[in-house]
Each structure stands twice: as structure tokens, then as C-alpha cells.
Symmetry: C2
Subunit: 458 residues, 2 copies
């Protein structure tokens, strides 16, 4: 870092410190505005608020309409030779119910015990607003930014981001950048920040088997009509072995190994496995024994039964042959499995083993990964370390699924997932919260990141 | 038959004909008295009515208390050298709901289109009262009976006959007889009466598997915790093959083949299989192809999934690893499988293949059979043929389960199941009904049976 940019950052961080009350007050304004996308409550009003705050932070902004809720977009041109960062976030929130479980009302932000309580404070308003506060500090302190800045907030993330892929593909030029940076989700640890360099993808399918036209007496008809619960049981047994291996032809074909730097990061991960499993009532890992704890969510796909419903589910006994059986399954995918391709392989498998079973595709999401060899990895790592004052836990691939592939595949840029929220943020739950210190550390991290990026190419 | 007994029967049948209006009126009295055993409504009052009618028919009667609803018992000593018949029936009925589905109120018997409509008219009041009407005709016409007569009506059949086994075992002397005769259930055909010489037994179990202490996010936890739906799927696949064979060790050990006369009866059975399957929306029999239609319910046991419940059963997708999975199964048993022994074999199988799965036994019933070689077979067959004016359909073993083994095993006597109700009696359903002509044919059949039995030993 040059002495000028070091001085700039020092001034910016001082401003961040000075601005804490104002930043908190502005976040409260954002939190007081409901923006429940699935219920279409207050979403456009919230988009307007975000747009105004972005403008105040020094970006040229606009709302971009989609067939759903609008995108809020802002940008600032890159100084000559400097890279451009795209911040991504979402301004919509989950519904707040059950209301009676909240200690303070969900849209009346309240501070208790060093935490802000409000719907959306962790997921995602408090996190993307940390970027805005950092940008504002840079702009007010230095009159500009040391790098190009783009900012995109969507209003449909809690609906499953139905338009993000279409939007990114149609706006590759507008969104082009050198890296994408997202603060969302909870940190994995209490004591250290997290960086995830990718996510698993997913395919969701429903399988339906039918037998007779209605439930039948199992005595009178037992042996005479097919039982759809057996049809699905036998089909499922051909898809996934008791030894924990997925048996669908070609399922593993496109898996690419985690890169050497990713492997090294995996090997640095530490966890009290017994305690973690015990926290959810489990004593030992399921088959296969040979798979290490972290390889299970980072390197391996899954074949999960999310629901199996057939016949009688009441108390006591009922002697029927069910007319129908339904199984819901999700398959978590790792790079570079493609959900469309995997769906075709599942369909082919079902056609082979149980011709009459109906397959209902219920969505998919691509896996995504940014290799840890990427040149921005040390930059992001250093900023997070400095912002939070602790070495980050780095995971090559997070177990869950996000539409991160729009950045790594459709935009073709590295993407970094850096959650600012505490592990117990209670996102999607009552009493959602954000530790105040995490909010300020997030602002610092985003501010430092701009400086580090500026000097990364010097 | 001697000329005296032939004259007696002729007089008795003439009396049956003359008595039709009175018999119908008495049946209406019985039907107007609710006797819902599961709800304890009117059961004892109904027992009193039955006792009075039996007395009027010439039997010495009494109520015998149990820890549930009382048994109604009556008898008349056998004339020297004559055999004794035990009639069995039940005076309790199913609950009548849904009430709004009845065209006429369930406890206000009504005749429409040649049928009596009332709760319990088929199941079982109209059927066991046919015996009483026949007995009364004999007693009023001849001053007695040509054979020994015992009559037992229980008031808990619709609760699953929880005390019948205990009662029979404790009263072997009281109930001893030469044959047991039951008119219950619907006939198999519209045009011909039915005789069943036995029933399949049953074992009912619930299997429960648990994983984590609550449903978990399938992305964050996929691969890390056991999925109990998979546990049960894999367990089930070891119990029953896609080829339709039960794979539990020793399950088939105690099966005894249907006797030659039973086989001959099986071979006489006729059915439009395609039409029967099509009536329940099925195109072809399930595996194994080698099993004939009738062997499936007469000679073969079953392994049926009556319910499979785990995880998400709502609309759309939910990405969870279920915390629990529950399967309910019934196994239909053929002679001479023992439900206790089969339960032990199921338990051993589960212990071997899925040690942690909980097995909850939910009742069993022994199979029962009377060989078609029995000396009373031609007697019963001839009576039924004469009473209904058509050759009976004879099935060695009925597919469903009844506590018939109390007669064949505990009492050690042959047992004959001769339904008098029409195929579409709608037992257990709204608008339960009995075709009037079946009621009268049943009275004739029971009356003729006494005469045939008396001469069978001459």
C-alpha cells in the first residue's frame, strides 16, 4: 500500500468509528421498513430507501424493473488501472411470523445485550448496509473510491431469486467487474469470521407412484394390486446404497476435485466433531466411514429423502394398501455437476428401474466455486482478518445452495461469500439479531477491502 | 333324510314363509336399537333385546359378562345321537358417521328397492337374526330342534373382538359343539352364495427410525447426519423383494399347503380378472407373475406397507433431513403361520439389518382353516345351495382376517363362514343395506342346515 492510500484508509476507518451512531440510525430506518417479498409487503418502498442511501454514499443509482420486485443498482467508475468490485445483497426479508415469539416487534429495531433485534437485520439488511456505510465513509472522507464500485441489491432472494439468473445474463456488460463480494448468512464460528469460496448446487424432485384408484383393504386385496410405497421403496434402494453411495449412472461424472489450495484450506479446518454432532442429537457420522467430516459437505454430493408420504399416518393401525406414494428428494451437487444434466440422469434411472413412476422436477441450482488460487483470495483474506481482528475460517464450498453461479459462471468472475452475521443470528426465525460489534466489524472489513483491492494491482 | 324329518323341514320352511313380516318387524326392532361398541352407545340394551329374541326362539339364554361388553349366550341340548351346532354372530355395530351421507337415518330402518337400509343390517344384525328366525320357526313348528343348538353373540366385534379368545379358552366346555357356523361379511358374487373355510391371519407392526433430534437443513447437514427415511427404506428393501418375495428368514417355515379338496375348490373358482382389477384402477397383477390370481389371497402371505411417513408432506419443496421416519406394516398370514412366531422373526430380521430401528407390535391374529375334507362340508354346501338356490362359491381361505382360530384352534372344531349379505352391503359405510331376498334366503339356509345336520349322522 502506498503511503497515500494507507493515510486514506486510516482516515476512512476513523470516520467509520465516528459515524457509528449515524450508521446505526440509518440501519434502523431500513429495518423499520417491512419488505416481505413473498407477501409483497413494503418491498418497493424499501427499494426506494436503499436507492437513496446508495446515492448518499456516492454512487449513481437506479431501480431496474424485472417481472418481479425491482433490482436496486448503483455504480462508480473505476479509477484508471483499478479493479472493480460488485457488492451483492438483498433488501427483502422473510415473513416475521410467529409474531408472538418475538420479544420486541420485528419491525421496531431494538438493542438488547449488544445485539440489534429486528426482522432482516442479519438476513440481509445489516450486512449489505455495512457495505453502504463503508462506501459512504470513503466518499465523504476522500471524495471518491480507490476502486470501481458496483452494487446490486435484489428484492426476491427470500422467494428463491427467481429472476437473478435472467437478469445477470441480460446485463453482463452492466455488471462486469473483477470480483463479486457478498456478505450474507451466519459465520460458522463464534470467534472467527468465515470466507466461503463456493456453494453446493441442488436438484429437487418429487417422485409419485400410484397403485389402485383408492386405498384398498389389505386383506381382501393383499397380493392382488401393486403397492406404490413398495414401488418407491425399491426404486429408492437402487438410487442410494446403505453404504452411503449414490448409484445413479453417471452421477459423479462431472465432479472436479477441490484445488490444491482448497484442499489445504480444508485441512486447516478444525471442529469438535463429537460436540457438533451431539448438539443435534447424533452420535456418529453415517456411512461411508471413509469420508472425512468436512469432505461430506465440501466434496461430496448428497441424495436426500426430504419427505416420504404414503398411506396411513395416524395413531394405531389401519390395514390398507395405499393408492399413492410420494417422495421428495434433494440432491446437493458439487462443482461441476450441472443440475439439468443430473436431472436427466435421475430421469433415466427412474425410467430404467420403475417405468411408471412420475418425476416432477421442482427446481435446481448450480454449484459454484472460486478456486483458492484466485489472485483476490489473499486480498479478501487480509481485509477480513483486519476487519474482524481474527484469522478467517475458510471453506472451499459451503454445504447449502445459493445462486452464486450467476457470478462465477454467467458473469465469469470470482465470487467471495463473507458472512458478517453472528452464528446465532436466527435468520428465518423469531428474534433475528445481529451482534452490534459484527455490524461495525463488517463496515471496517468492507472499507479495508476497497483499500486492499486498490493496492493489489499496484 | 327320513320322511319325518323331511316333513318337519317342509313345515318349517312353510312357517318361514308365513313369518316373513313378523321376522322383518323383529329385525327392525333390533336395528332401531343403536349398539355402537366403540362409543359404548346402547350396547347393553341391544344385548337384552337379543337375549329376549333367543328365548322366544326356544333357547335357554343368559348374558355372560366380560371386562368389555357382555356376551349373549343361548343353548338347547342335542337330541340323542344328534350333533350340536354353534352359531356365532355379533350384535354391536360400527359408528354411523358421516350421518349426512345417509339417505335415511341409520337407526330408522327403511326399505327401498328391495333392500333394508340401516346401520348394522348387514354387519351383523340381519345375518345373525336370520339364525334366530330359523330357530324360532323350528321351535314353533316342531316344539324343539333336530340337533343341539348353541348361540353366541358378542358385543365387541367392531372393536376387534378383544375378549373372544380369552372367553372361548375359558369356556371350552360350555361352547363345545360339532361345528361352528357364522354368517357375516358380504358374499363374493352377486349371483351365488359364498362359503369360506378359513381366513388369513395377520401381524401388524410399526417401525420407527430416528436421526437427529429435529429436522435439519439438508444443505448444511447433508452427509453429516443419518436420514431415518433412508434407514427404513434400506431396511424395507431387505424384507421384501421387487420380485414379490418375502425375504425374512424362516417366514415361510410353517406354511402348510391347501388340502387336495381345497385345491380342487380353488380350481373351480372363476373370475373376470381383468374386470376385477380394472374396477380398482389396476391393469395387471404385481410380481410374481407366476402366482395365480386366487393363490395370492388363499395360499400366499403378504408383506404390506400400510403407511410410510417421514419429513415434508406439503406442497412444493422443503429441504430437510427428517428427524424421524415411521412405517406401518401388516403381514397377512396363511395356515399355519403363528403371529407370535412371525413377530419374533420380523424382530430378529430388524435387529440384524437395522439394529436401532424400534419395532412396535400392534396386534396379530392367527390364520384359521377347516379342511374341505371335513365331514360337515357337504352338509353345509347342500344347505347353502338349497337355501339360496344356487351353487356356492367356495374359498378355502378368505383374504381378510377374522378371529376364526378361536373355533378351529382353541375350541378345535370345524368352522364355516357363510355370508348372507349381498356383495354391496356397504358394511362400515353409509347406507349399509341388506337385500330383503338375502335375508329370507339366509333364514331358509339356517333352517335347512339344522335338518341336514340332523340327518348327516343317521
Amino acid at each position: 500500500m502506498t503511503s497515500t492510500s494507507a493515510q486514506h484508509l486510516s482516515d476512512v476507518l476513523a470516520a467509520c468509528n465516528t459515524n457509528q451512531d449515524r450508521d446505526l440510525s440509518d440501519l434502523f430506518t431500513l429495518l423499520s421498513q417491512p419488505s416481505i417479498s413473498t407477501q409483497n409487503i413494503g418491498v418497493r418502498e424499501c427499494a426506494g430507501l436503499v436507492k437513496g442511501m446508495l446515492e448518499q454514499a456516492g454512487l449513481a443509482t437506479r431501480l431496474i424493473e424485472s417481472s418481479g420486485h425491482p433490482f436496486v443498482y448503483g455504480d462508480y467508475p473505476a479509477p484508471s488501472g483499478a479493479p472493480t468490485i460488485l457488492f451483492y445483497g438483498h433488501y427483502d426479508v422473510q415473513p416475521p411470523d410467529p409474531l408472538e415469539a418475538w420479544v420486541s416487534p420485528p419491525f421496531e429495531p431494538t438493542i438488547r445485550n449488544g445485539r440489534i433485534y429486528a426482522r432482516g437485520v442479519g438476513d440481509n439488511k445489516g450486512q449489505f448496509f455495512a457495505h453502504i456505510a463503508a462506501l459512504r465513509a470513503w466518499h465523504e472522507t476522500t471524495g471518491g473510491f480507490p476502486v470501481g464500485v458496483k452494487f446490486l441489491a435484489e428484492g426476491e432472494e427470500e422467494c428463491g431469486s427467481p429472476h437473478i439468473e435472467e437478469f445477470v445474463k441480460a446485463n453482463v456488460g452492466l455488471l462486469d467487474c473483477d470480483l463479486v463480494y457478498t456478505a450474507d448468512g451466519p459465520m460458522l464460528d463464534d470467534d472467527a469470521p468465515t470466507i466461503a469460496y463456493g456453494v453446493r448446487g441442488m436438484v429437487y424432485v418429487e417422485l409419485r407412484a400410484t397403485g389402485a384408484s383408492n386405498d384398498l383393504h389389505s386383506g381382501n386385496w393383499g397380493g392382488l394390486v401393486p403397492n406404490p410405497a413398495w414401488t418407491l421403496t425399491h426404486l429408492l434402494a437402487t438410487m442410494f446404497s446403505p453404504e452411503g453411495e449414490i448409484l445413479i449412472d453417471g452421477f459423479h461424472d462431472d465432479i472436479i476435485p477441490v484445488s490444491p489450495a482448497g484442499k489445504a484450506a480444508m485441512n486447516r479446518l478444525k471442529l469438535d466433531q463429537q460436540a457438533t454432532l451431539a448438539s443435534v442429537g447424533v452420535q456418529k457420522l453415517p456411512a461411508p466411514e471413509s469420508a472425512s467430516y468436512f469432505s461430506r459437505t465440501i466434496e461430496r454430493p448428497t441424495c436426500n429423502i426430504a419427505g416420504f408420504t404414503s398411506g396411513y399416518d395416524g395413531v394405531g393401525s389401519k390395514t390398507i394398501i395405499p393408492a399413492e406414494a410420494v417422495v421428495k428428494m434433494d440432491f446437493r451437487l458439487v462443482p461441476d455437476q450441472d443440475p439439468d444434466d443430473i436431472l436427466r440422469k435421475i430421469e433415466a434411472h427412474v425410467r430404467t428401474h420403475a417405468r411408471d413412476v412420475e418425476i416432477i422436477p421442482m427446481g435446481g441450482m448450480r454449484p459454484s466455486s472460486t478456486p483458492l488460487e484466485n489472485r483476490f483470495v489473499p486480498v479478501v483474506r487480509a481485509a477480513v482478518q483486519a476487519g474482524f481482528g481474527a484469522d478467517p475460517v475458510e471453506i472451499p464450498i459451503a454445504g447449502g445452495s445459493l445462486p452464486d453461479a450467476v457470478w462465477t459462471k454467467d458473469l465469469g468472475r470470482p465470487s467471495f461469500l463473507v458472512p458478517y452475521a453472528n452464528r446465532d443470528e436466527a435468520n428465518h426465525s423469531p428474534n433475528e439479531n445481529l451482534v452490534l460489534e459484527n455490524f461495525y466489524a463488517g463496515i471496517r472489513t468492507s472499507a479495508i477491502l476497497l483499500a486492499r483491492l486498490a493496492t493489489s494491482v499496484e
